[in-house]
């Protein structure tokens, strides 16, 4: 059984982090910063050509994480593979020891570095979750019986609690639960009360949700995300708080804000998913300050 599943089932507050494989073969380079505190993490997500930028494969980086004693959350997007490739990669990943899969639509190729590529999207994230749930039960999408089923897959999905189209988000989240999603990871959360309302609205789904935490690097980054990234809204008072300290102290403020949000999320979320984007070395300080 996956450690993440054990923690979620046992009601412990799970902490996950995230790595993006590099555009190259030096995958160890992105894993090394996590090694000093790997025991404090339930699992680590491995992105799949994140932002549609071509990088080393998420299954390879997931296996390399395991070689370092870190449990991966293998991300699988619908952008680059049709239903044959998706099922086949999922089976291969399981055979290699991967248990946690996070299913995403995937950013459109037009926003990445190969905009000429054919966008696949043969399945959407709901269809893919359903397909993986089928594999788990021993059948492929064509109804054929598997010789051995990936019965211990733990299926994850994404949701944006702060989306500006909340009804649609909730509708899709509900579908994801119905087809077999076991847990969710969210876009970055800053407003704990709003997140608590989201949990109340979705309480009937009885799903496990790891709230997204992003380490803000500067007030400018916060403003940029508000203007450009869907599903993220950094409240003005947090931007002001960041701006109130000198530049060299941004990281300290960032740790303080993240820890405060995480503390507020205890009892509200089932855990947190920390997106440090280059500031992995500060994760232990965040966990210390949040009492984890």
């Amino acid at each position: 059984m996956s450690r993440l599943k054990e923690m979620l089932d046992g009601g412990s507050f799970a902490v996950t982090a995230e790595i993006g494989p590099p555009k190259g073969v030096d995958i160890n380079r992105v894993i090394e910063p996590l090694l000093p505190f790997r025991n404090r993490l339930a699992a680590v997500n491995v992105t799949d050509n994140q932002s549609s930028i071509m990088r080393a494969s998420s299954v390879a980086a997931s296996v390399m994480l395991m070689q370092h004693g870190i449990e991966p959350v293998y991300q699988l997007t619908c952008r680059d593979r049709n239903r044959l490739a998706l099922q086949s990669d999922a089976l291969g990943a399981y055979a290699l020891g991967i248990r946690n899969v996070l299913v995403l639509s995937g950013d459109h190729p037009k926003v990445g570095d190969h905009p000429q590529a054919k966008p696949v999207y043969d399945l959407d994230s709901v269809n893919l979750l359903e397909a993986l749930d089928g594999l788990r039960k021993g059948f492929d999408m064509a109804g054929q019986t598997l010789t051995a089923a990936p019965s211990e897959f733990l299926l994850g999905a994404a949701v944006s609690p702060e989306s500006d189209a909340p009804e649609l988000q909730l509708m899709k989240m509900e579908k994801k639960v119905r087809v077999g999603a076991d847990f969710f990871q969210t876009q970055p959360v800053f407003d704990v009360e709003r997140f608590a309302r989201f949990r109340e609205e979705t309480a009937s789904l009885e799903s496990r949700v790891l709230a997204g935490i992003i380490l803000l690097k500067s007030p400018a980054m916060a403003k940029f995300m508000n203007e450009n990234i869907a599903g993220i809204s950094v409240p003005q008072d947090i931007i002001d708080e960041m701006a109130s300290v000198p530049k060299e102290d941004f990281y300290k403020k960032s740790i303080e804000i993240a820890a405060r949000v995480i503390t507020g999320l205890k009892g509200v979320a089932d855990g947190v998913h920390i997106m440090a984007i280059g500031w992995e070395r500060h994760i232990p300080a965040v966990l210390d300050a949040a009492g984890l």
Partner: protein
Amino acid sequence: MHATVQKKLKEILRMLEGENRIFIFGCGSCATQCMSGGRAQVDEMSRQLEDAGKIVAGTHIPETCCSQGTVRKAVLELRAAHVGVDSYLVLACGQAVHTVIDATDGALVHPGCDTVFGGETHFRGVFKEYCALCGDCISDRTGGLCPLTLCSKGLLNGPCGGSKGGRCEVDRQRDCGWVLIYERMKTLGKLENLKEIQAAPDRIKSDGPRRIEIRNGQPVFIAGGKEFRSSED
């Protein structure tokens, strides 16, 4: 309609390299509306080819350039103009390119346009794509708005995480198809319908090249090696 955009002259001249006597076809229907192959564009192309040292053996704008009967008749009527032609330039859609190959029994034919989508004439001068010609229409489930076409990823079960301010992640000037669908279903009082899980689409009916044949007065649609009839259960 088949929306088309004329290729750049440079590209057309490259295709016609080494060929001297050219016959130009336009189209009185879609390409006329899109101003890619109507009378004015065909005449202008004629002038440009002559300026480039070509001989324009003739031009013709059939009512529809994608109907083999119509085009074959035109070729026969203007037989003299077709004698000794090196190649044809078609200022119409990709269907018309093949129609001219058929109607001339295999002549060398060049596409003078890019065929960009099957569209609705929104109003005079504006054409928009609302259907991706998938072969298996599911738009009834989304209030007649096609998620395969209006959503950049063709997602059937709701929006991706990239929708922001009602706009799509691919192009923030463009509406997110799923927000449009949501608003429409709300107006229709049918939001509940969106909660239904849409299974992975069966794409057999989009497997080209597709055909329709009328047999014994009944249309038969053929795609992906299978035959489909409306009259079947």
